[in-house]
Amino acid sequence: MATRKKVLLKVIILGDSGVGKTSLMNQYVNRKFSNQYKATIGADFLTKEVTVDDRLVTMQIWDTAGQERFQSLGVAFYRGADCCVLVFDVTVPRSFESLEAWRDEFLIQASPRDPEHFPFVVLGNKVDLKDNRAITENRAKSWCDEKGNIPYFETSAKEATKVETAFLTIARAALQQEKDEDIYHDFKDAVNLDDVPDKKQDGCGC
């Protein structure tokens, strides 16, 4: 593991249309906000190199279209994801209610090896719009707790609130997932060796 080369972490951002996925990604990668983003059609991606716990990693962040019918198109880049970021707009209850569907759809399509422990991070975006707030922090948190203690952050892509912190957690979660995958591969090899005599035994049994 010590000899491992550059780590590439693949992160997918999902959530309803207009919750601020593109803005969050751009705020994190380019440290800027614009209200002139085009609607994301299909998919888009940006990369950023970051140091996580003394390790240099490249984050490949995939931004997606938020309309429901685009969900089925994800397959090609969902696979091999190390972390999935679910975004909702704290001023739009429906976008919060959709989180479950986004999560389920992701698990179906990405089909990670261990869906129970696949890392998600939830971001409640647009907290700068205090007057229009519809989803409380507690409500969001309790949903995250229910779903296996998903880390939750209240962000504002516009004002760069908690964006950096949130993405650091995302990077850590992705890195952990990546490590687990490695361990799994090592483990799998070990198991394979054991498998061979087993099979032979089976053969003798017949």
Binding site: Q36, I41, F45
Partner: protein
Amino acid sequence: MDEQELLDMLERQNQLLEKDNRAVSFERTSPQLDSAVAGSEASKRRCGSDSGPLQEQHIAEQQLLQHGQNGPRRHAMRRSASADPAVKVKERMASTSSSSSQLQHHQQQQAENGKQEEAADPEVERFMLWTEILSNWDTWYRKKQRRLLDLLYEGVPGALRCVVWQHLARSQQQASEVSAARLHTDNAPSYAELIAQDTPHDKLIQQDLARTFPKHHKFKDKQGDGQEVLYNVMKAYSLYDTEVGYCQGSAFIVAILLMHMPEEEAFDLFIILMRDYRLRGMFKPSMADLPLRLHQFDALIRATFPDLHAHFGDLGLAPSMYASQWFLTAFTSSLHTEAAFRLFDVFLLEGIPLLFKAGLAILHTNHNLLHRHNFDGVMTVLGRDGLQQRYVGAEEELLHATKAAAVTQKQLQRYEKQYHTEKKEEEERTSELARLRDKCHRLEQRNAALEAQLGTLEGDYNKLAKKHLDVSVQLHQRDEQLLDMQEQLRRLMDAHVSLSSDTAVAEGKQAADDGGDSVVDGSLETSTRTENSDEQGQVERDASVDGDQQSGGDNGEGNGHVAANKDGAEKQKTLKGCREEENQQGDQGGGHEQEAKA
């Protein structure tokens, strides 16, 4: 076009103009074309139906687009009163020919005044040619389509774009088998009726208004008319085609139309694009045609640029990662507007194949760069805004490469077939997998149930085995006891026999003394039989021995042996007791056995 042809055409247009007896006004001094067309009364009349600001907006926008070269926006502003497409086309043609005749007239005047300038401004020439094409549209479309296509690749004058696009679309619509009958049927609600209704897609449509060409002057302001008309058209379409409703991406195409024509005309044209140009399949809720297009495109890349295809394959880069927006917005969101317009000119004649050609052209014109880049690099070139500035001022490069790209219908059909076959196989595999998974799941459940049952049974078995062991041990002990008792019995028997024989001897002696021997015989006989008899018989015979002894006692004979007889009786009694005990134990043993059986 040679000079003679041009002169002939000018002559014809002049005659037409005189016949129409239309006034030509010169509203603007420069450029020449502007003034030539701007005065058309027919144009003015039709424009009357549009709002003033919209009209101004169109003009301003057109000027911007054309960099002031020409801009008779009002062509685009015409609003046909008739719903019948054929009538509309005719009206447009008439109007076009009238305006073109004015143009020709003006041109001729200029030519006369300017002593036949060597060569007319190429833009002017192009404009003239296109007006001619529009006035003889059917001929051009049916008989000179090849040349028409070449001219479309060279670009349509911005001022005529609206009319040319509409002509192309109508012709496509007429040629299309699916269409016309269903468009503008009596039942279909009018545009005005549609925009008066509420759409279930309202929120998403509204949300995307500011995100469709957010930097374009027409659409960037929330208060601007661009967003308003875009909203109207998207809303009307979502109600007109409830199956599709609203799909992200389509607004870019509508916006491109709205940059050239008023909302209702854009709506009509969009319907044709969706249905007759087969864009609709990409926007349906399943978006089924998008993966098809991406598959076809991937196959085309493999056929056209095998090296690039291999490179992309190595990088794990699929067309779905960069080309979805190319197809969903017909390149309108990926390129700067002028390049998008130019491609759209051709798209309206070539249809879907043009999208593939343009895609290949983009790969071709960036080939070296793409070859050198890694995943990130390729995505930066081809991704969201990577191509926005790439063809600014280089539109010809793109159009040239697009024209040169070889994409045949046959190829596309073959890839489509291939896609459906692969998809079917994939679906079969998926359903087979699902079936097997289901089966596996059911077997696992059954297995679990059986294992549970087995567990219970094993528990029962263990209990029984333990009981069995206990019983066996008990039995074994009883067997040993029995053996002991048999041994005891045997010894008692022996004692009894010896006792009996002693008695017999003694009685024999007594009989010999007394002269009678019948009783002795009987006793002796009894004791001899006893040795081989069963237990029950023995008991009976024991009783008889007692009786003998008693009778012996009653007789009062052989008194010398009475004590010995008594001793024998004692022994017999003990033996009897043992037997009873044994019987009892035997019963108990039987009981155990019965239990074990249960």
